[in-house]
Symmetry: C2
Subunit: 224 residues, 2 copies
DNA sequence: TCAATAAATTAGCCTTACCTAAAAATATTT
DNA sequence: AAATATTTTTAGGTAAGGCTAATTTATTGA
C-alpha cells in the first residue's frame, strides 16, 4: 500500500514540526498551550487546528494523553526536519551564509515540495549526517541519529572532538573563532581542564596548546 | 534614499510577475481579464487585487491604459524572475533535475525571501546568463539581456549556435537528444537546409554531419 | 474537599484571497 | 446610432487560519 504523503499547508507543516520537537525533548504531555507557545500564537487557534489534524489522521488527541503524532504525521514531520537541516547545510557550505543566518532561510525552504528534492539535495551535499547546529539529519527512510553533541567544556580530558556548531552567534564570538581557525568540522583535543577558573587547555587541529575560557568552552558545540 | 523592498505575499508576487510577463511580449493594454487568464483565476478577484497593488504603489491602473508596473513593482517582479531562473539553473546543474521538472519547483523557490539570496546563488552558480529554457537571467541591478533564442530551424546556414533549451520535453525527444549527445550549451553548426522536407544538416560539436528533421529542428531552442 | 488558579474550549470576528452572480461600463456590429 | 456582446466592476459569500472574550473543565494546594 502506497501511503502517499499528501501535500500539507504551510501552517499544518509547522504544527507537525513543532509537535514533533515538543515530543522529542521530553516525554511530557503535549498540550494546546505548549503548542501555542512554540508557535507564538493563541491556544484557541491551536485547538481549531488540532481538530483539523485529527481529521486528517496526522495526530491523535485525547485530553488525558495530550497530542501525539500518528505514523503518517511523524513521517511528514521528519521529512520537513530533514529538508530544513539539509538546506541549512547547503546555505552554509555552498552559499557561504553564517551559522546564525541559515535557520531563518531554512524555515522557508523546508516547505518546498517535490518528491525527489530531499534525496537529491542530500546526494549533492555528500550525505551530511549533521546540520550546522550539530543536529542530526533524518535519513530518507525517516530515521534520525542520536544527538551526541555537547559543549566543549564537557568533553573528557584527553579526548578529541569535532566542532558541530555554536551556542552563541555574537559577532565577537564568531570573530574569535575565526582567529583561532575554528570552523565546522574542526578537530579539537581537550588537553586539560583548569579547576581554578574552569578554563580549558585545548589543541586545535593537533596544533600548539591554547587556553580558552569557560565561557568560550560553553559556547562551542562539539561531537565527541 | 533606500527604497526597501517590503515583503509581498506570495499572491502579490505572482501578480507582479504575471503583469511583468504580459507587459513584455506585447505592447498591448494589460487588462484584468488577461491577468485572470494568466493566473487561472477570476477577473473579479483580479480587480480586488489590483486595488491592493495600486494602494501599495506597485502598479498604476487606469481603465484607458490598463495596468502598468511602477518602478518599485518592476523591481520586485524582476527580482522574482531572477530568483526563478537562478533556481532553475541550480536544479538542473546541481541537483540533476531535467528541463521539464525545474519550472514547477522554481515556482516555489522564487518566493524565498532573503536579501542576499539571489546574489549568493548567482555567484555559486558562476553568474549564469541564461536559464535552462534559454531565457535571460536579470542582473542584480534588475537589467535583463535581450532574448536571442530561436529554434534551430531558423538559424542561418553556416552559422554556429548554442543549445539553450527545448520546446518539447517528451521523453522520446529528450532521449533522442541524449543519443545525439546534445545538452545545454552544446555547439551546433547549421550546415544546410534541405528545401524538399525542410530537414536540416547539422554538425554537433564540430563532429560529422547529421541530418535532423524539421520537427526536431523546431523543437530545439538555441542562441546564435 | 473546596476554593483558587490555570488550561481547554466555544463563540463570534477579522483578513486574505479566492468565488459567483448581477450590474454597469465599454466595444463591436449591423 | 442602436443593438448586441464583451469587459469591468460591485455585491455578497466561502475557506483558512488567525484573534479576543467568555465559558467550561482540570488541576492544585490550603
Amino acid at each position: 500500500m502506497t501511503t502517499a504523503i499528501h501535500i500539507q499547508t504551510l501552517s499544518e507543516e509547522n504544527y507537525l514540526k513543532v509537535i514533533y520537537h515538543l515530543g522529542k525533548d521530553a516525554k511530557v504531555k503535549i498540550s494546546p498551550t505548549a503548542i501555542a507557545d512554540a508557535l507564538n500564537n493563541n491556544p484557541a487557534s491551536v485547538v481549531d487546528m488540532l481538530k483539523k489534524l485529527v481529521d486528517k489522521k496526522l495526530i491523535q488527541y485525547e485530553k488525558s494523553k495530550g497530542v501525539r503524532l500518528t505514523e503518517k504525521g511523524k513521517k511528514i514531520a521528519l521529512l520537513i526536519i530533514r529538508k530544513h537541516r539539509l538546506w541549512e547545510v547547503f546555505l552554509l557550505e555552498k552559499l557561504e551564509y553564517s551559522w546564525d543566518e541559515v535557520h531563518e532561510i531554512a524555515e522557508q525552504l523546508e516547505h518546498i515540495h517535490n518528491p525527489q528534492l530531499a534525496d537529491r539535495l542530500d546526494k549533492f551535499l555528500g550525505f551530511p549526517q549533521y546540520d550546522p547546529h550539530g543536529d542530526p539529519i533524518p535519513s530518507a527512510s525517516g530515521e534520525m541519529a542520536d544527538i551526541y553533541k555537547t559543549i566543549l567544556s564537557e568533553v573528557t580530558e584527553g579526548k578529541t572532538c569535532q566542532v558541530v556548531g555554536v551556542k552563541d552567534t555574537s559577532s565577537s564570538f564568531l570573530q574569535y573563532l575565526k582567529k583561532l581557525d575554528i570552523g565546522i568540522g574542526t578537530k579539537i583535543t581537550l588537553i586539560e581542564k583548569i579547576p581554578f577558573d574552569n578554563s580549558v587547555i585545548v589543541s586545535v587541529k593537533n596544533g600548539p596548546n591554547t587556553t580558552v575560557s569557560k565561557l568560550f568552552a560553553d559556547s562551542l558545540l562539539v561531537h565527541e
